[in-house]
């Protein structure tokens, strides 16, 4: 088949990119070579629009063992333990085929983590859907949840946290972001950098089939009405094989046979072989006839582009082949020596004794296109002018009930009950809290992990929104008593070729970077997903942040449920009354404009560190950060979880109770303390210049505020817990 400009464009390359390839190669590539270029040069693999900006991120810290650029990030948690974690998107495939899209998203991210030698100990996910009323939403939600569960449950890794949000902007492009946290011995971490010449290159895992061909290119393009036709580009997951692969790899990793290892994810064999060679500044020679194939008659083109799941590429030490093969035989997995490392600095492919491709590696990696795309700054929107009469006919009682039934606030138990969250026997905080917590098996240590996004804030003002998510992640970890250590990010945006979208990306990254630096909360891994756009309509900018923290003694972990009648609750941090972009103004006043709440990094850090200090001194018995919905929603959740009420104090000098109870000012927590500790706590708060209000006293089962709020826990629980179940079952 002759390769022309049209063939290149069909493969997702731009005209100019095709000419650059011909110029670099000094000839026209053949079809297999073109396929390799298209796989390596697409947005998904090359980060060509984002690279310039990602470089500015804060990726260093005293606890960072490995930052971005590897299969996953690695942080030090003391002793010989390290935590490996990363988040990844599987948005495009999940919209086309929700079950398999979501399932293989979970499978892919787990492989990234165990490729580094770590045993996965927790999964999390962040999923965004269109409006609940949109015709596709319900089925997509069902399929995605089933897919995530189907994969994670089978492997036997607990899913300990997540978030589910709905917004019109995802009607044509849902988001499925999956995160995995793994545990590894600090001295036994495996990397993808090949080293040494004439080392055997080994293929292990499932056979290669025709599924997922062009998956990475599909994920680098926008959607239109014919998107259903792309179903064959979605991979099919086999969690059972992945479980075997996990156990076999960890068994092989127990000694020193492996030089480099890389999972075959996006762009399959192409990107894994090129990346290993590129990092080691070596060449690689593969005989594609030796690749175990599921179907007869597969061409080199198909073999190189297949995204069949549950496969790994390994560079072994010479002479270790038999030993390795024995392990993979035991687990009933394919094992084949398919090539070797060379000093040619080229990727050379042979098929049926004929050379079918020869490309210098640097053309695929270092010479991949890099774009400094034009971008537009987003101005800070004007503040809403809310007058007294806006609130005149409103009642606190009604507003609270309505907000608790808001799809973005309502309880998500129907979802996380479908995920095995207790397997491995170390889950000490289940989903539904501020962060999930698992113990480091056999030790006193525990790892807290949280996943957050706030697209409305990012849409209103990307710079502030970017900062806000990092702060929220930090707060969620502190709320369970963990010292925040590092984050991973999944940057979901629209089409980067549009200045507005690119601007949203640049400014969100800037915000994330600023907060991450200030809080010493470095970014160790991540993923970019552009082109979340259908028929010219893009999603709201949705960076998702996955945070990881350490609890040195798990017995000191904190949960959010109210514990004991008579205890005092405080609001830590100042309530300024910022209602713009809150659930309250959107749900009750139907107002979508205005800036997001301001981020004051000094207060954020100071408040957080002081709360953590109080937790360390065992002065706090429950804690919850105040986020979506404001104080009253936070109180409702703590009440429902603890099956206790709260008598909220009459507040002196209160200008507008709606602002007080529903504003989404940042850097705030609600904490429960024993009466006898009040004096001590107040002293510490004052010494650290932390603003606080005495909110109220815990009661048996009534939530009250003057005569304006009056509920039993049961009333609130009913409102909070019914929306999702009714939605799904009707």
């Amino acid at each position: 088949m002759e390769v022309t400009e049209t063939t290149a464009i069909d493969h997702g390359l731009k005209k100019e990119e095709f000419h650059k390839i011909c110029e670099l190669l000094k000839r026209v590539p053949n079809i297999t070579e073109l396929a390799i270029f298209s796989a390596m040069w697409n947005e998904h693999c090359s980060y060509k629009s984002s690279r310039l900006h990602l470089k500015k991120m804060n990726t260093k810290g005293t606890k960072v063992i490995q930052g971005p650029g590897e299969n996953a990030g690695v942080i030090d948690i003391g002793d010989d333990h390290a935590i490996v974690f990363k988040i990844e998107s599987h948005n495009h495939p999940s919209f086309i085929e929700p079950y398999q899209g979501a399932a293989t998203g979970v499978g892919g991210i787990m492989r990234d983590v165990f490729t580094m030698g770590a045993r996965p100990i927790a999964n999390l996910n962040s999923i965004h859907f269109g409006s609940p009323q949109h015709q596709k939403t319900k089925n997509l939600l069902r399929g995605v949840v089933k897919g995530i569960g189907g994969y994670g449950n089978c492997i036997g890794v607990p899913t300990i946290g997540g978030q589910t949000l709905f917004d019109d902007s995802y009607n044509g492009n849902i988001l499925v972001n999956a995160m995995t946290v793994g545990l590894v011995n600090k001295n036994k971490i495996f990397y993808s950098k090949a080293a040494g010449i004439n080392k055997p290159v080994i293929y292990v895992g499932s056979k290669t089939g025709r599924d997922g061909i062009h998956g990475a290119s599909m994920a680098s393009a926008t959607f239109d009405d014919k998107i259903e036709e792309k179903k064959p580009t979605v991979q099919v997951g086999d969690p059972f094989t992945e479980k075997l692969l996990l156990e076999a790899c960890l068994e092989l990793m127990a000694d020193n046979s492996i030089i480099a290892i890389q999972d075959m994810g996006a762009a399959g064999l192409t990107s894994s072989s090129v990346e290993m060679a590129s990092k080691g500044k070596l060449g690689i020679e593969l005989d594609l006839s030796k690749v175990p194939c599921r179907e007869d008659g597969m061409t080199p083109y198909e073999i190189m582009l297949s995204e069949s799941q549950e496969r790994m590429l390994i560079v072994l030490e010479n002479g270790k082949e038999d030993k390795a093969k024995k392990i993979f035989d035991k687990w009933n997995l394919d094992f084949a020596v398919i090539g070797k490392t060379t000093d040619s600095k080229k990727i050379e492919l042979v098929f049926e004794n004929k050379k079918v491709a020869e490309i210098p590696i640097d053309l695929l990696s270092e010479n991949a296109p890099l774009y400094d795309r034009k971008w537009k700054k987003t101005k800070l929107p004007q503040k809403l002018k809310l007058e007294k009469q806006n609130f005149k006919s409103l009642k606190l009682n009604d507003c609270l009930l309505k907000i608790l039934k808001n799809p973005n606030i309502a309880d998500k138990e129907w979802i996380w009950e479908q995920y095995d969250h207790t397997v491995m026997g170390d889950t000490i905080q289940k989903p539904g809290g501020d962060a999930g917590v698992v113990r480091v098996h056999g030790t006193q240590k525990a790892i807290a992990a949280s996943i957050d996004s706030s697209a409305s804030y990012c849409f209103a003002h990307p710079l502030t929104g970017g900062k806000q998510i990092v702060c929220e992640s930090w707060r969620n970890l502190i709320s369970v008593g963990a010292q925040p250590i590092a984050i991973t990010n999944c940057l979901n945006f629209g089409n980067p070729e549009k200045e507005k979208n690119m601007g949203e990306f640049v400014e969100c990254v800037e915000g994330i970077t600023e907060a991450s630096k200030y809080l010493d909360f470095p970014i160790v891994s991540g993923n970019v997903s552009f082109y979340n756009e259908t028929n010219d309509k893009g999603i709201k900018p949705t960076p998702t942040i996955g945070g990881v923290g350490l609890i040195t003694n798990y017995e000191n972990m904190i949960t959010m449920d109210f514990k004991e009648e008579g205890n005092i609750t405080l609001v830590i941090g100042k309530t300024e009354g910022h209602l713009d972009q809150s659930v309250f103004v959107k749900e009750i006043l139907n107002e979508k404009k205005g800036p997001p709440p301001e981020i004051n990094l000094f207060n954020e850090k100071n408040n957080g560190e002081t709360v953590l200090n109080l937790i360390d001194q065992k002065l706090i018995v429950s804690c919850h950060d105040i986020s979506l919905g404001g104080i009253l929603v936070a109180v409702a959740k703590m009440s429902i979880k603890g099956n206790k009420g709260l008598k909220i104090n009459s507040l002196k000098g209160l200008q507008n109770k709606f602002e007080y109870f529903f504003s989404e000012d940042q850097g705030r927590y609600i904490v429960e303390i024993k009466k006898i500790n009040l004096e001590k706590v107040v002293k510490i708060l004052n010494e650290n210049s932390v603003h606080f209000d005495e909110l109220g006293t815990i009661t048996k089962d009534q939530i009250t505020f003057d005569s304006e709020v009056n509920f039993t826990v049961e009333d609130l629980s009913k409102a909070y817990k019914t929306w999702l179940k009714n939605y799904i079952l009707n």
């Binding site: 089978c154 075997l244 687990w331 479908q418 095995d420 969250h421 397997v423 889950t427």
Partner: protein, 227 residues
């Protein structure tokens, strides 16, 4: 007391079971599905998970694996065999226990705490146990127990129903049935009551920081019944 936990490809609660057995004093060993025999044991456990992927009927392939013959021989000689979750499914597939486990009534995987009522204490598993109602944990997609009318009558007549789903007060009615199991059945014995299959996971409830501690009661009681 010696116990053996069988590992099938796809088992994923094998380690959790190992941890639990050892915590309460068993000398536990792990046995690979391809091993020809099982070392001398007082108790054999088939753990939870997705043996062979469970792409066919759950437990059906495991019930044909090499290690099952010695398990059946052991059971037929009166040895104690405990199957939890996927282990229960495997036991029904081998025929050591009657009935089958269908997909849950609402067709979803369910992971949550539940209560079970102990229906029979005249056996090595529950004799002398301090409580009648245990808070345990389920995590399954196919836990909806079903059997023929004749089998059910025989289970009832011989007191082979081990545990039923209930609420904290022990009411084992429809409202407290998480998966649609016939008669709320969560676990059953064979006729001799040496084989127990149950969907709930006691090994996930063995310290106060996990979901609860009633699993501890189960294991403590089990080992004391041996001594």
């Amino acid at each position: 007391m010696k116990s053996s936990v069988i590992i099938f490809p796809g088992s994923n609660c094998d380690r959790d079971m190992d941890v639990a057995l050892k915590k309460f004093g068993f000398k536990n060993q792990m046995v690979w599905h391809n091993d020809p025999s099982i070392p001398k044991s007082d108790l054999i456990v088939l753990p939870g998970g997705f043996s062979y992927g469970d792409y066919l009927r759950c437990g059906s392939i495991a019930s044909k694996s090499k290690i099952i013959k010695p398990v059946i021989d052991f059971a037929n000689k009166g040895g104690l065999v405990l199957g939890v979750c996927n282990g229960f499914q495997i036991l029904t597939e081998t025929g050591l226990l009657p009935g089958i486990l269908q997909q849950n009534k609402f067709l979803n995987f369910i992971c949550k705490n539940i209560f079970v009522k102990i229906k029979d204490k005249e056996n090595k598993y529950f004799k002398n146990i301090k409580k009648d109602i245990l808070e345990l944990h389920i995590a399954h997609n196919e836990g909806n127990y079903f059997c023929s009318e004749g089998e059910l009558k025989s289970l009832e007549d011989n007191n082979q129903i081990a545990v039923t789903y209930c609420n904290e007060n022990g009411e084992d009615n429809d409202q407290n049935n998480p998966n649609g199991a016939i008669k709320n059945i969560a676990g059953i014995f064979n006729k001799n009551k040496n084989v127990l299959g149950m969907m709930p996971h006691p090994e996930r409830m063995i310290d106060s920081y996990l979901s609860g501690e009633d699993g501890s009661l189960f294991f403590e009681n089990l080992i004391s019944n041996f001594n």
